[in-house]
């Protein structure tokens, strides 16, 4: 199965990258766009199926390595690809 993890800066944490991208978007004339946040996506293949145990394992990975809970949130999707 394929796991896609989306990591994004917490809404309460300043996101300088998002702010810079938003400035660029506005400079292109898209004035109706706001609230830009820049995160990252991590994908990997994993043996097994979508069970509570597998989700626990992915949560541990996300909390420890893939995201820093002080500054980031994460969510993930599991697909059968």
């Amino acid at each position: 199965m394929k796991v896609t993890v989306f990591v994004s800066p917490k809404t309460t944490v300043l996101d300088p990258q998002g702010a810079a991208v938003e400035q660029a978007i506005k400079s292109l004339g898209h004035h109706s766009i706001e609230g830009v946040r820049v995160g990252k996506t991590v994908t990997f293949q994993m043996e097994g199926s979508d069970t509570p145990e597998i989700r626990d394992e992915i949560d541990r990975l996300c909390d420890g390595l893939l995201s820093n809970p002080v500054i980031e949130d994460y969510r993930y999707e599991i697909t059968s690809e």
Binding site: P9, T12, V13, L14, D15, P16, Q17, A19, A20, G64, L65, L66, N68, V70, I71
Partner: protein
């Protein structure tokens, strides 16, 4: 060796840190590869600056899981002296040895300059009397913007855990924080580079009192024993 300097792939201030401790301050120092154990008899550890593991994922995120980090954790738990400089500070925050996290500078630029810093009266070692009210130290970082939630920040301030503040602020760091310590007073972290300000050919010598303040307990204390 009394002072161990941990080398990760991508560390680049390890030799400077060793030189400043060994040849300028005069304490036996050595570099220790991140896959080796922390040597017995070490009394202080410096986690040096650089770009460990290419800063991939987040600064310090991968170094945090290096084999030596479990030794460093027990060393710190037993009261061993630990100093993280720049990337070393980021690694200590990622590993939970210090609270908070460091994110991208708000200016989105890498900031490399001789930075004015205000010294705080933090404890018996780090204070305006032992150091000075104001210091200048080199900074060189893209992710030095300190962040912590309100609760952590309130505790840091209430316990006098802030060591240094930027004056003026080059990166958007909350409360102008440039360096902090843990509550116990044995783990220190800062973005400025004291090891780059210790000799007459450096822009200034203000790194010396900072390193001496950190290394001060080595003159009296007995070595921390690592549990097997």
């Amino acid at each position: 060796m009394k002072v161990a300097i941990i080398q990760f792939p991508g560390s680049n201030c390890d030799w400077d840190a060793e030189h400043s401790v060994q040849n300028v301050i005069g304490l036996p120092a050595g570099r220790v590869w991140h896959k080796d154990p922390l040597p017995e008899g070490v009394e202080a550890v410096i986690v040096p600056g650089g770009f460990s593991f290419g800063d991939y994922l987040r600064c310090g995120a991968i170094a945090r899981f290096s084999p030596i980090m479990s030794d460093l954790q027990s060393f710190a738990d037993q009261g061993g002296q630990v100093l993280g400089i720049c990337n070393g500070f980021q690694i200590l925050c990622e590993s939970g040895l210090l609270p908070g996290a460091l994110v991208r500078n708000d200016c989105m630029e890498f900031r490399c300059l001789n930075q004015s810093l205000k010294v705080e009266d933090s404890n018996e070692r780090f204070n305006t009397e032992a150091l000075a009210a104001q210091l200048t130290l080199p900074i060189a970082h893209g992710e030095g913007n300190y962040r912590a939630d309100t609760e952590v920040l309130t505790d840091l301030e209430a316990n006098n855990q802030v060591l240094l503040r930027y004056a003026p602020n080059p990166n958007g760091s909350i409360n102008d924080i440039a360096g902090i310590r843990n509550q116990a007073g044995n783990v220190y972290g800062m973005m400025p580079h004291p090891e780059r300000a210790v000799e007459s050919h450096h822009p200034c010598l203000d790194g010396l009192p900072v390193l001496r303040a950190f290394l001060q307990p080595l003159l009296q204390s007995s070595p921390v024993q690592l549990s097997a």
